[in-house]
Symmetry: C2
Subunit: 345 residues, 2 copies
């Protein structure tokens, strides 16, 4: 039942080398020989052992997927996209979750585990320390980052500054001027660019319109629902003049919604909220958000490693567009006074 390449060679009356060439679609095989070999092989149900092939050729047809979490929205969707794209072209995906150390100084990725096991590496989400990237580079395999990464390798993501400017401009166009911001940047993740860039976009959009962003209008916290809730609570108590919130992720925005509800603040009548992500649940909660394509980012990153492996030239950076999705959590500010002359979007 489990045939080897020489069983096929014998049955087809050719050498193993010819079988190997025919099956892999190499050019130097006559059409009729190939056809014959192919039919014999399929008749026998033959499949080359990926292990043996990898050992002999040095190519594993496997991609190592490094991720801090598999059970979080952004990550699981990227993985989904990458896995499907890779499987489609016959590549396997080895899943490696690594710890997100709070103190940030424990080495989290061990290149030796990947050595001689993969043809390329995909790093999802969290940026690695320089030393970690260097150690991965010793593998001599292509590396592609998704979401946030190292400057020396291709990265696919979104333009966080731009998208944030757009979100805040939308709020400005509704008449809001007192717009707060909730972000998340634990100390050890300073190099995680999305939150930093989103904050920058918020500042930029306000400046454009001549609004001075009061430092009291921003709040830091954890990047999940709970974190958003706590941050929003503090923010709303401290700065009651705020009529709108630009929140750096949908999950935090949902937390903000909960906080508003608990404080008895009606959304959007008294407070408008815009998130970032396009989380499925946001749709059902009616959250206005900047929606980003996540599965596509995974698929694109997969295509990039494959290009790199094949020696094709690739873009150093692929940027996806985020799209403003207006839903129920945004409206004109509570004073009902639209100050004309704003940017208008």
């Amino acid at each position: 039942m489990a045939h080897g390449i020489d069983d096929v060679a014998r049955a087809a009356g050719v050498s193993t080398a010819t079988v190997s060439r025919a099956l892999r679609g190499m050019p130097n095989v006559s059409a009729k020989t190939r056809e014959h070999v192919l039919s014999v092989a399929s008749e026998m149900g033959y499949r080359a052992s990926p292990l043996a092939a990898a050992l002999a050729s040095g190519r594993t047809h496997t991609i190592g997927l490094l991720t801090p979490w598999v059970n979080r929205w952004f990550f699981s969707n990227v993985i989904e996209g990458a896995e499907r794209a890779l499987r489609e072209v016959g590549f396997d995906v080895l899943l490696y979750s690594f710890a997100v150390s709070e103190n940030g100084r424990t080495p989290r990725v061990d290149p030796d585990v990947l050595r001689r096991r993969v043809d390329g590496i995909l790093v999802v989400g969290l940026p690695l320390e320089d030393t970690e990237v260097r150690s991965l580079e010793t593998l001599g395999k292509p590396i592609v980052f998704i979401g946030s990464g190292s400057s020396d390798h291709p990265i696919v993501g979104i333009d966080d500054v731009r998208l944030s400017v757009e979100a805040v401009r939308y709020l400005l166009s509704l008449g809001h001027r007192n717009i707060g911001h909730i972000t998340g940047t634990p100390d050890d993740l300073r190099r995680w660019t999305p939150p930093v860039d989103r904050r920058q976009g918020w500042l930029t959009a306000l400046e454009e319109t001549g609004v001075a962003a009061d430092p009291r209008w921003e709040e830091f916290g954890f990047f999940d629902i709970d974190g958003g809730k706590e941050s929003a609570r503090r923010l709303l108590e401290r700065a009651p003049e705020l009529t709108a919130l630009f929140v750096a992720s949908d999950e935090m925005a949902m937390g903000a919604l909960l906080a508003a509800r608990e404080c008895g603040i009606r959304v959007p009548e008294e407070l408008s909220i815009v998130g970032v992500d396009g989380h499925e649940i946001s749709e059902l909660v009616g959250l206005t958000t900047m929606s980003q394509p996540v599965v596509s980012q995974g698929a694109t990153a997969a295509a990039l490693v494959l290009d790199l492996i094949a020696g094709r030239p690739v873009d150093r950076r692929v940027v996806f567009d985020a799209e403003l999705v207006v839903r129920g959590t945004t409206g004109p500010p509570r004073e009902g006074v639209l100050r004309m002359g704003g940017p208008g979007l």
Copy 2:
């Protein structure tokens, strides 16, 4: 930089066989030889090529993880648990997502892709067709199911009937008698036991109490938020006498919450809702639910395949307990009339 086993053998002044034995902790090596080999190897930064080792030994130290989705709550959490448990003991995880065909007749898993690549298989979530299971069995490797599976292989999961009885008993103990049920069973997933069992539990608990379950009290739909919302809308319109809903998943329950809100029905004053899962978001939405340990199920399934691989005896079925978590979506029925003499929980 990339040494082979014979480099180490030469450097240590022993044979490759001894190096191999020493490094793998085999018994027949003298203590001092082992120590010496180990130190030489680590000095050289040597790691055995998993590929070559697998080819020579027939053991790949890799588990194939089959799942219909990686970006859904239950699945991503099971994967997370399994991956971490496997990596801890040096096993790799090959991720295979397979299509969930709506018509149910397209073969979704191709055993040939796994042939000679894995030592064992984990199937997460959806049950496979008998033919699919048979084809996987031709690989001759242990298979473990999580959540729902085939009778011929170990399965880890929860007792859906029991948990549902408990959930409904809780509603009964609050005084509810008109308790509806929302479930999801697309036609091609008849063999997906959780929804079937949860429905059974609902029926059983009602019967115990002498309540006749009106067929109008149950509604089928899709197993996500949207599906729950639609189902709840239909149910609430059709059977206004309902004072409580037992919903077969948290996501559907969240949909039901949305539907209630849109219909102007207050929760829990006018309608109590209980879900199943223990989804993180439910916690923040304040949903009462039967919480199941999911990461643990993944980790346990991982331990089971490892046992099977090692030839250790294993339980054919590992059942985890679900736990009632009472939060804000449940309360006494709207009439405020507690009919005494109920089961009392």
